[in-house]
């Protein structure tokens, strides 16, 4: 494996990134992400020394390799990306608070740190036509897809106005209209569903695709293998995206995987495979666009590993003591939101003041969502019997 620092220096990213250290950030002071400590020396993507196997090749999408213009993203749209990422972070920071205030119960798995993955991916698809399915760490994906903070917060509060009418909670965000096919709480169980979603698209002769997100922990389920094999034999338009945030609960990825470059597992199925940095929204965007347009829309399933990091413990109750000292700080120094803010300023797309203004707006929006969720009603007791079967008069006998 290449030394990542050297790799970073070699492509010049270190120096450029280092300048951002001094940048003030509107994210400081909220408890979730303190001021970055060091330069962005840690490329979040370890680029394996190639060629690894004579017969295979793979694309890598390290951070800081492409800009918005290369991706055909308009200047204003860059601010939308930032807005989306800020919204996710602000929303989830308030979730922690709301959990402490016991407005939210159940499991609460936060996505903080991974926002570039959701935002970069969603910007690469045709929203409302292409489908997205993900695991239980689903708030960020839902918000990136345009689900409103209000319906999301209401769901967390268990209110009838929630995106799943208070029946799903944190782990089960659904939005049929946006083709958010759910957050799913059984590790690995949604991977076969993604093949079916893609199957339906192909069956109808549409060129819509399905993005299937899952964690590094889900890779070890048999469902992963079965889903990949089915996608391979039926040529299904699905992109399997492993969001490698380095841990499955307290289990570091290298403790439980015999082939640590997770994207390479796709080779077992003859998939095109790639590795992308999840700490740069543009890298994710390019990787997903490539996979969607070059493969999925042409009926070729593929595998993408996005290396990212979750800042919080596995769930709200996990203090994450299994992490090495300074590990989190090091990772935060690569924060995708900081990176994008810096990019925006460097490219004169907006000023720090403009960014602050967006952030304030977003915080306001989240505060309003909390108020609305608070004010909303819990479902009627009778609602326990709703949505079990298609017919409303299904006879209950016990």
């Amino acid at each position: 494996m290449a030394d990542t620092n050297d790799q970073a220096k070699a492509d010049g990213t270190t120096d450029k990134a280092a300048t951002t250290e001094k940048q003030s950030s509107p994210l400081s002071g909220d408890g979730a992400s303190d001021e970055p400590e060091g330069p962005w020396t840690q490329q979040s993507i370890d680029i394996p020394e190639g060629p690894l196997e004579e017969t295979v090749s793979f694309d890598t999408y390290p951070a800081d390799q492409v800009g918005h213009e290369d991706l055909g993203i308009e200047d204003e749209e860059v601010l939308d990306l930032l807005r989306s990422m800020l919204l996710q972070r602000r929303f989830e920071n308030r979730c922690r608070q709301m959990y402490q205030q016991q407005k939210i119960s159940g499991f609460l798995h936060l996505y903080i740190g991974q926002e570039a993955v959701s935002t970069g991916s969603i910007n690469a698809i045709r929203l409302g036509e292409d489908s997205v399915i993900t695991a239980y760490r689903d708030h960020g994906m839902g918000l990136a897809m345009g689900m409103t903070p209000e319906e999301c917060m209401a769901e967390l509060f268990g209110k009838e106005t929630g995106c799943s009418k208070g029946k799903g909670g944190s782990m089960h965000f659904f939005d049929n209209e946006r083709k958010m096919m759910g957050g799913h709480a059984i590790v690995g169980a949604h991977l076969p569903l993604s093949t079916g979603i893609a199957f339906a698209n192909k069956y109808r002769g549409e060129d819509n695709v399905c993005l299937c997100f899952f964690g590094d922990g889900a890779m070890h389920q048999g469902a992963f293998r079965e889903a990949c094999n089915l996608a391979g034999i039926y040529d299904l338009p699905v992109v399997f995206i492993c969001e490698n945030n380095q841990y499955a609960m307290g289990t570091a990825v290298d403790r439980v995987v015999s082939k640590p470059d997770l994207f390479k597992h796709g080779y077992n199925f003859d998939f095109p495979c790639s590795l992308a940095s999840g700490m740069d929204v543009f890298s994710v965007n390019k990787a997903v666009k490539d996979h969607v347009e070059n493969y999925a829309r042409k009926g070729q399933p593929s595998m993408l590993e996005v290396r990212t990091y979750r800042y919080q413990g596995h769930s709200i109750t996990d203090p994450a003591e299994y992490r090495a000292e300074n590990e989190l700080d090091q990772r935060k120094s690569e924060d995708a939101i900081h990176r994008l803010q810096q990019y925006i300023v460097d490219h004169d797309l907006a000023t720090n003041e403009d960014i602050d203004a967006i952030d304030s707006e977003v915080q306001e929006e989240v505060a309003d969502a909390i108020d609305a969720a608070d004010a909303a009603d819990f479902p009627d007791d009778e609602a326990i019997y709703d949505h079990i079967y298609a017919q409303e008069d299904y006879p209950f006998t016990t």
């Binding site: 089960h172 096919m181 076969p192 079916g196 079965e226 298609a390 006879p395």
Partner: protein, 350 residues
Amino acid sequence: MIPKSAPGPSTPQSEFQIPHSNDMATLQFREALRAAMTEEMERDENIFLIGEEVAEYDGAYKVSKGMLDQFGSDRVIDSPISELGFAGLGIGAAMNGLRPIVEFMTFNFSFVAFDQVINNAPNMRYMSGGQFDVPIVFRGPNGAAGQLAATHSNSTEALYSNFPGLKVVAPSIPDDGKGLLKSAIRDDDPVVFLESELMYGMKDEVSEEADYTIPLGTARVAREGDDVTIVAHSKSYHVALQAADQLAEQGYEAEVIDPRTIKPLDIETIVQSVVKTNRLVVVDESNPFASVASEVTHQVQDRAFDYLDAPILRVTAPDTPAPYAPNLMDEYMPSAEETVDACRRVLYAE
């Protein structure tokens, strides 16, 4: 008045006679099921069939024979031995607008896909607050089929009936097989459709009426009688009919009720019969603990306790895995003799 404990809306009235018209053909059970799938697939192109060996091999039990030729490989799809995977594929496709029929080579293998069948299919509508339909049918042979030993003899009806969101159907005669399968395919909920390997060759009259369906949740009173009620589904139904014949020779008229669907269960029809006969025996080849027989027993005592003249008896498999040896297997399966004995006991005929 029949006491009712639950407020639930009433189930449709069951037919006391099989509505045979002139449009009848004599078909094997498997042919009746095939006719149902074929007619539905002709009607709605969103329906497809997937499973191990369903296409090129014509189906492990030949239920889908010829369907590949008729519908092509886009709609009649061989899958790898990957129950978890293809069950999940079906559910995802159902969430995205198709109407899959998933064949398990036998329901014993559905346990490999258990997570999909019980955790994904029935929960999706509920957890999404009603946003996603999962119109899928999981079908295939259920229960013991001769001497296949413990891993290949499971009766899964009670198990799957335990999960709200699933419907469970278990027909006993070819005509019901056709009418109920068509309803199952049209249903917007996931349906577990249980056949029996030993019934596939059974021949009987089957309706050829256009659009012939039997609503889920309607029991069939197969034989009328005043002395004792026997409730039995699937293979056990045939055991019950034999027992009824033997009882008739002894001067007792048994009423035989085939619930046809386990969930929803047409408890009204069963209760009406018990109100008439005051005695109930349930025949069910499942293991007895927490079985369909236990559920029927509970519900009847709940609703018609005052009408019972004897404790309800069950005739089931013993609480053991299914054996291999032929004599042990005979011991394992509910028999007409045991059923007759049980009926005589509730009749206090000894």
